[in-house]
Every structure is written in C-alpha cells, then in structure tokens.
C-alpha cells in the first residue's frame, strides 16, 4: 500500500547565500493512512515550517513530497490551493475563523471552494457541526463563542469536506485546560474513526494523545517513536516518557 504522506530529503532554506537558515534539513518521513502522529519541537525547531510543507502552504527548496500518491513539491499556487482543499483539513492555533461569518458559513467555506452545491454543502456542514456538538450554535458569529467552541467550529470546518489528512497546529495553544481536553478528545475520536491526524505541538502532554511521536530539533528529525498501547496508560506517564526520550 502506498503511504499517505511520503517525504524524501526535504530541505527548506531561507535567505540562500550569506546567512542561510536551514529551517528543514534533509527530512525524510512516511505517514500511513489512519495514523495519529505528533510532531514535537521547541519554537524555532522548524516544526512550523514542516507543518507548512505538509499542509501545502509552502513549497520546499528541494526534496520531494508525495501526498496521496501525488508529487506536490513543484506545483503552482493554484494547484496547491486545490490540493489543500481536497486533501487537508486545517486546525490552527488561532482558530482562524472569519469574524463576520457565522459558524455554519465558516464551516461551509472549504466546500464552497470545492464547488459543492448549496444544499449538499449545507447538509455536510450541519452534520459536521453536530459532530463537534455545536448544532445549536450554527448561526453564532465567532465573537459570540468561547475559545473552545471556536476551535470546535474550526474542527468542524476541517472535517466537513472529509479530507484524508487532518493537520492540527497547536490546536490547544490558545485554550484553557478544560477546553484543551475536549479538543484532544475530539482528535482522539477522529483517529479512532480511522482518520489520519497530524498534530504539531511543543507540549508533551498534548503529544501524548498520539500513537507516534516525531521530534524535530534544528530542522532535523531526531527521534520517531511509536507509543505502544499498554492497556489504559496514563497520559502523564506517556508524556514523561516522551520527555525522557527528548533528553
């Protein structure tokens, strides 16, 4: 079976020439469908750049990136837009909802760009909002909702078009601990349903929800660990393990 994501010798170099910054330095990696992967690293480690590459928001300086069997490394902006729309559901740290649209309209956005007819779009969006428990908040604007609710809208938006990859960049970074737990539970549920979830974070406790942890330091992958299911393991314990591995 083809891997969902296959990255080979990925390089991203800023300011080529004098003050070269190797944000990503020869990264190779494969992620299969249905995995729940956490990419961890401190700020400045290159994990955000890596997330931009995986999310097709940016193109690498060199190397190849196969997403769902398609080489996306050298595509044009518009082709990348189409790939993002079809293949990736984004969940951002800052929620990134459009303020003057209602929750429902926000969820509908990627479906509009996918050219899905209004009736079907509406049905998919309502179903998606229902899934994150916000059916009764559909007509609310982001400013009328709590942070946790806003992030749930963002998750509904990422899910609505059923993309193969869910890419979550510090999804709990702006949330209190109760909301964080809610959001992580939703991500775990999505994984259980068989979706591929890639989580970018600096927080070991958050990463502990994943089944595979990839640590990036200075643009290089320094570890790639699968977390074994050992009964009902405590998140704290796993986090400690991840912590220990990092040192």
């Amino acid at each position: 079976m083809n891997p969902l994501i296959e990255v080979r010798n990925l390089m991203k170099i800023y300011n080529p020439g004098e003050n070269e910054v190797h944000a990503l330095d020869d990264i190779s990696l494969r992620i299969d469908a249905g995995e729940f992967v956490a990419v961890i690293g401190q700020s400045g480690s290159g994990k955000s750049t890596f997330m931009n590459m995986l999310g097709c928001l940016d193109v690498p300086t060199s190397g190849s990136y196969y997403l769902n069997g398609e080489d996306v490394a050298g595509l044009t902006d518009d082709a990348l837009s189409e790939i993002r729309n079809r293949e990736i559901g984004f969940i951002f740290q800052g929620f990134n909802l459009i303020p003057n649209l209602t929750a429902l309209e926000n969820v509908e956005l990627p479906l509009i760009y996918r050219n899905i007819p209004a009736a079907k779009r509406h049905a998919l969006s309502v179903a998606s909002l229902e899934k994150v428990g916000l059916k009764n908040r559909m007509e609310h604007k982001p400013s009328e909702m709590s942070g946790g609710q806003q992030q749930r809208v963002a998750i509904a938006r990422a899910l609505a078009a059923a993309p193969p990859v869910i890419l979550a960049d510090e999804p709990t970074g702006n949330l209190d601990s109760a909301s964080s737990k809610e959001i992580m539970q939703i991500l775990r549920d999505l994984h259980k349903e068989g979706r591929t979830v890639i989580l970018i974070t600096h927080d070991n406790k958050i990463a502990a929800s994943a089944k595979r942890v990839i640590r990036i330091i200075d643009g290089k992958i320094v570890s790639d660990t699968r977390i074994k299911e050992e009964g009902n393991q405590d998140i704290e314990a796993i986090a400690a393990k991840i912590e220990a591995e990092g040192e």
């Binding site: 999310g55 928001l57 940016d58 837009s81 189409e82 729309n85 951002f92 303020p99 956005l109 007819p117």
Partner: protein, 410 residues
C-alpha cells in the same frame, strides 16, 4: 459558474457588514453619476425646447441676398419665376420691405411697422390666422391696400380682435394710406425668443405692391429674397441649386455674389454649440466620477489590508487566486453599480426638480428634461467600468498574497 454566485454573496455580505463605509464609498459614485445624468438631461431638454421654439419661428427658411453695387446682380422677378420652375422642394418665395409710420385710433397714437410682403407671406407667417384670411395673389398683383394685424396689436389699438373689415389709417412717409383689415394673426406663443416691450410698434402686413400704387415705386428687382423649403426638404441642396441658377442667369459663376443664410444651418450651429457646452460640463461631472472611483479603490485597498488574515484563511482552505480576485472585484463592482443605479435615479429626479423650479420661476423657459437611453446606458457602463478598473488593483493585491504570509499577519 455557480461559484461566481458564491463570490457575489460573499461580496454582498461584506458590503452589508460595513454599511456606513460602503455607503460613503458609494456616495462618490452617486454624486458623479447623478451629476452627469443631471447635466445631460438638462442639456438635452434645453436643446429640445430651443429647437422647438426656434423651428416654430423659422424652420426651413433660407435668406438669399446679394451685395451688389452695380444693380446688375439683383434678383429679378424672372429669376424668381425661374427658381420656382427649376428648383424642387420650394414652397414659396418672398421678399419684403418694412417702413415705419404712425396711426391714431380711439385708443391713442401708435408707432407702426408696416411690412410690404409678397402673396407667399401666408407660408412664411409662423403663427397662423385667428380671424379673416391672408391676402391672395390677385390682391397682391392689384396692389390692394389690405392688411393683416396681430392679435395683441388689434386689442391694443381697437380693444378687440373683431376688426376684420375695419379700416386703419396709417401715415407712411407723409402719406396717409387707408388699409382694410382682412385678417388677424394669432399671437405668437410666448417663448424665450419673444420680446415685447411697452410702446413697441404695431405690426401690419400688406401686399408689397401697395407701395407701387401709393408711391410709384417699382419692385422689379430685390437684393434679398426668402425661400421656404418644403417640410423635410434638404435646405443645403436647395440653396446650392438656387445659387447655381442665379449665377448662371447673371453670368457670375463662382464669384460668390449671392450669399445665403439657412435657418437649418443656423440651427445646426446652435445645436453643435449646445452639445459642446453639455459635453464640457459633463466632462467636469465625469471627473467627479473618477474621483469617486479613486475613493472605491482607496477603500478596497484598506479593506484588503484589514482582511489580510481572512484572505490567508480562505487561501489555506482552498481559495484560488481567481476566487479571491473575483470576490474583491465583485465587491467594488457591486458598490459602483448600486451607486450608479442610485446616481441615475437621483440624477433624473434632480433634473425634473430643476425643470420644475425653472417652470415655476419663469414659465417662458419651462422645459422637460430629456433622459436619453443612451445617456443611461453609457453612464451605467461607465460606472461599472470604473468599479472594475479601480477594483482590479486592490483585488489583484489580495489575490496574490501568499497564504502563510497572510496567516502570519494579525
């Protein structure tokens, strides 16, 4: 193209989200468009009324004259007969001579302008007869002292318009002539070209040949004659033919002895001048339209900057360059089109308001503003073009943003 509808919806929702700003932006376009419509409508309306009133006076008239000091080029009776026979499209030929005199009636003493006319006077008279009749060819040839008088003048000197059959004694060149009134002409409709003043003379019209009878003058030649073209006849062609004929008959081909003034030519000149004036003022109004367009561009640029993050989100979610471009372009196009529509309606309303005020202030100048379809279509196209033109730069700026750059900004 179902997606285009979505972009329109996005644009509308954003315009509604910023009502005050959108309205103020629109205002520039509204003022520009309504000024253009206002001026064009007033200009056209004024031109129509001027044309109408002037045509009433002298449409189709051609004056033909010769500056001749030898006498050999003056237009003879034979010339007139030849013109009538050989040139098509002429209803009549006239020549006249005006002399002044006085008359006294029970109502007092009056100055008189007595105008000797040919029998074709009835064709040249623009008002029509109220009572009685015009003089005929027989009376003309016989030099009978009959006359026509205007409705108002009849009232002035007799206190009534029932004057047909009455006699009027007029002192002309120290001779008293007794005219029998055979007709009363209708008063001219009051227009911006009628000038009446107190003690203006009484006008009477009589057969030119009376002067031959009374003073022994001979009217064999005329230095000036008037031609009346048939309705719809080309006065230019008639003039050329008549001048050619006269030059041939007097052996002066190409010497420009015969000059002419055609009322229709004159009308064309007046029209051209009015058009140019209207166009010039419209141009000034159009400049305000461009200023309005720059306002639209300015606001769209602000909007693009403000909504950088939104653009980033949309792009991350799969919006293509074209999608963003269309969304922003729709916004400026809708603003200018709504502005244009309101501008057209208010421009027309303003034009009718101005016309009403003019009519109330001075009924003589009353006119109906004329809103031509062409004006409306042209301004609509122009305002949409402005929206697209001034919208394209901000929209392109938005569309070309990189999603990561845009998302990074707050």
């Amino acid at each position: 193209m179902s997606q285009f509808f979505e972009y329109l919806k996005m644009a509308v929702s954003n315009i509604r989200a910023n009502k005050m700003r959108s309205f103020l932006t629109m205002l520039g376009i509204i003022i520009g468009i309504s000024s253009v419509i206002l001026i064009m409508s007033l200009g056209n309306g004024a031109r129509n009324i001027i044309t109408e009133q002037m045509s009433g006076i002298a449409s189709g008239q051609i004056a033909l004259y010769t500056y001749d000091d030898t006498g050999s080029y003056e237009i003879t009776k034979d010339d007139i007969a030849a013109i009538k026979e050989q040139v098509d499209g002429i209803r009549g030929i006239n020549s006249y001579m005006s002399i002044s005199g006085t008359t006294s009636t029970k109502k007092g003493e009056f100055q008189v302008q007595a105008s000797g006319q040919m029998a074709s006077y009835m064709i040249f008279s623009s008002t029509g007869i109220l009572k009685g009749r015009y003089f005929n060819e027989t009376e003309y040839l016989a030099g009978q002292p009959v006359c026509l008088i205007g409705e108002r003048d009849a009232v002035r000197i007799f206190g009534s318009t029932d004057v047909v059959g009455m006699n009027l004694d007029v002192m002309l060149w120290e001779k008293e002539v007794t005219f029998t009134i055979i007709g009363v002409e209708q008063a001219e409709k009051e227009s911006m070209f009628t000038f009446t003043y107190e003690n203006s003379p009484i006008y009477i019209y009589f057969p030119l040949t009376v002067l031959e009878q009374v003073y022994g003058m001979e009217f064999e030649t005329y230095y000036q004659i008037y031609l009346m073209a048939e309705d719809g006849a080309d006065t230019g062609t008639i003039t050329t033919q008549v001048v050619d004929l006269l030059e041939r008959r007097h052996q002066c081909i190409g010497e420009d002895i015969y000059q002419y003034e055609s009322f229709n030519d004159y009308m064309e000149t007046v029209n051209t001048v009015l058009n140019v004036v209207t166009m010039l003022i419209s141009l000034v109004a159009a400049i305000s339209l461009i200023v309005g367009g720059i306002g639209v561009m300015n606001i769209m640029l602000v909007s693009v900057t403000e909504r950088t993050r939104e653009i980033g989100i949309r792009k991350a979610l799969g919006a293509k360059t074209r999608s963003i471009l269309l969304q922003f372009l729709s916004e400026s196009a809708i603003i200018t089109m709504i502005g244009g529509l309101i501008g057209i309606i208010s421009g027309v309303a303003e034009a009718f308001l101005v016309a009403k005020i003019v009519a109330a202030v001075n009924p003589v100048f009353a006119f109906t503003p004329s809103v031509s379809v062409v004006t409306v279509v042209v301004t609509t196209v122009f305002s949409s073009a402005i929206g697209l033109f001034f919208g394209i730069y901000p929209a392109r700026k938005a569309a070309k943003m990189s999603p990561i750059e845009a998302l990074r900004r707050n």
